[in-house]
Amino acid sequence: MTLPVRAVIVAIVVALLAAVPSIAPAIIVQFGISALIMVTLAQSWNIIGGYTGYTAFGNSVFYGLGGYGTAVAMVQFHLPFAAGLALGAALAVVFALLLGLPVLRLRGQYFAIATLGLVGVMTAIVSNLDIAGSNSGLVLPLLKGDTLFYELALALALLTTLTVAWIARSRFGFGLIAIRENEEAAEVMGIDTTLHKVLAFMLSAVFSALAGGIHAYWITYIDPAGAFDVTLNVKMIIMVVFGGPGTVLGPVVGAVLLSAISEILAVNVTSFAGMFFGLVVVIAIVFMPRGLTDVMRRFREVGWRCFQENVRTYRV
């Protein structure tokens, strides 16, 4: 497909999506907001996890900082929403820079656990900050109506996806992929790996933070447990892994699909939702460790055997 044709298709899809609040019932709009926020989070993880190959388990820190920046700005200093978002994003970027430098020197599981540790530290620190409402959290000012949040979430998801699309074909992006495939070789080739990794981390931070800010204002509430929620990280990773890490549209597919499944479960089965989520995760990892796109591609070639092959490759 040529670029102009693709651009037109994208424009049509976006226009349709933007029109949703005016034509669809409130429940669809709300689902849309959650799903779009998840798309943004999935894509931002994709930058550091999918393209750079650093499995971060701590993106929820950026999400939480974005949410808290917005909340504190609006509740304690009575600033407008835009200022709040900016503060949240700034906090997250600074955090990514200052802590990214030491933490990105670690590899593999140590990096993952370090980011997980950062989530624990931030949750504990924020629950002691009175300006952030300590453990009880903050209640944000009320804004009636969901349209603003929907359009913002859509714009953010679009921006993040376009950024990933740019990364996929830029020198910066090739540098990231080189780091993922073989970091030593990339160093030898002259790529400044530290610069690339930290920049990727900071990009990841900005988008996660903005998503967090929108979410906080939307549900008018933020508290440490919800803002820095550890399971959010797992959800992000699953969505990307499900859809296809290191691709542009994989995370979008993964995020929308998983949001839909989880929403349907939460609304209809509440108590069982948790169990189904766990079950889905286990089954998906066993049979589809490299994602849906991978399975779909191989299904065309070998049919149902692709599941068997997946298991055989990774079992002991």
Partner: protein, 287 residues
Amino acid sequence: MQLLWQILVNGVLLGGLYALMALGLALVWGVLRIVNLAHGAFIMLGAYVCYYLFAGLGLDPFAALPVAMLVMFTFGYLVQRGVLNLVVRAPMFDTLLITFGIDVLLTYFAQLAFTADFRAINPSYAGDNFELLGATVPLVRVAAFGVALLLTFGLWLLLMRTRVGRAIRAAAQNLVAARLYGVEPRNLYAVTFGLGTALAGAAGSLYGVVSQVSPYIGSSLTGKSFAIAIIGGLDNPLYVIVGGMVLGIVEALTALYIGPTYTDVASFGILVLVLIVRPKGLLGRTA
């Protein structure tokens, strides 16, 4: 001064229990390279087994402990054999995700089976204590400390002196070579994981005596176990003793001098710091 001594005693005793909690995790992590996010859930299940043996059959918790260990060993063996063996060689985040899924499932089933009510394993001697140079020492905590040391020593013996232990260590170092020597990985991995969950079960039983049992105690214990394993160093599961002591004492001191709400800042802070400065842990050999 008196207060400081009491706090240190509290910290050391807590540290012993902490070490036991992390022992199973460190074993599985170091040997199988499985980062078990469900570790806390296994501790929780062990606590329930002990509770029901205590409340239902009247068994003293310290007598019920070996039984709980056996039950948890079998359960862990089956989990590894049936589920985890299927993804052992997948990229690392796959094991992280799958153990997360298992954690969700186990917590859910625990809630369903045992209800959300909190239980306590409360033997008649639960409140007994004695004085040691001015500090009050709770009996059950000393007993838990003793059991923890015993089991750690037992694991050391097992790894160093038995055939199974040697096979486990060989498989950890080089699976291909181990297989050439006749090690059957599927069974061995399951045994190793089973050992890990058995130790978690022991920790859970003791935890139930000094604290409480509910389906939700798992997640915070997983976090602490990770911190302890990292602080000590993953080269050798026995390093958790150091990790546990450090964490126990730091938490006790933090609670007193800074405030009880800051203990998590301290624990996770140390975890991150150790990873940044000395990723192999306090005792590990630098890479």
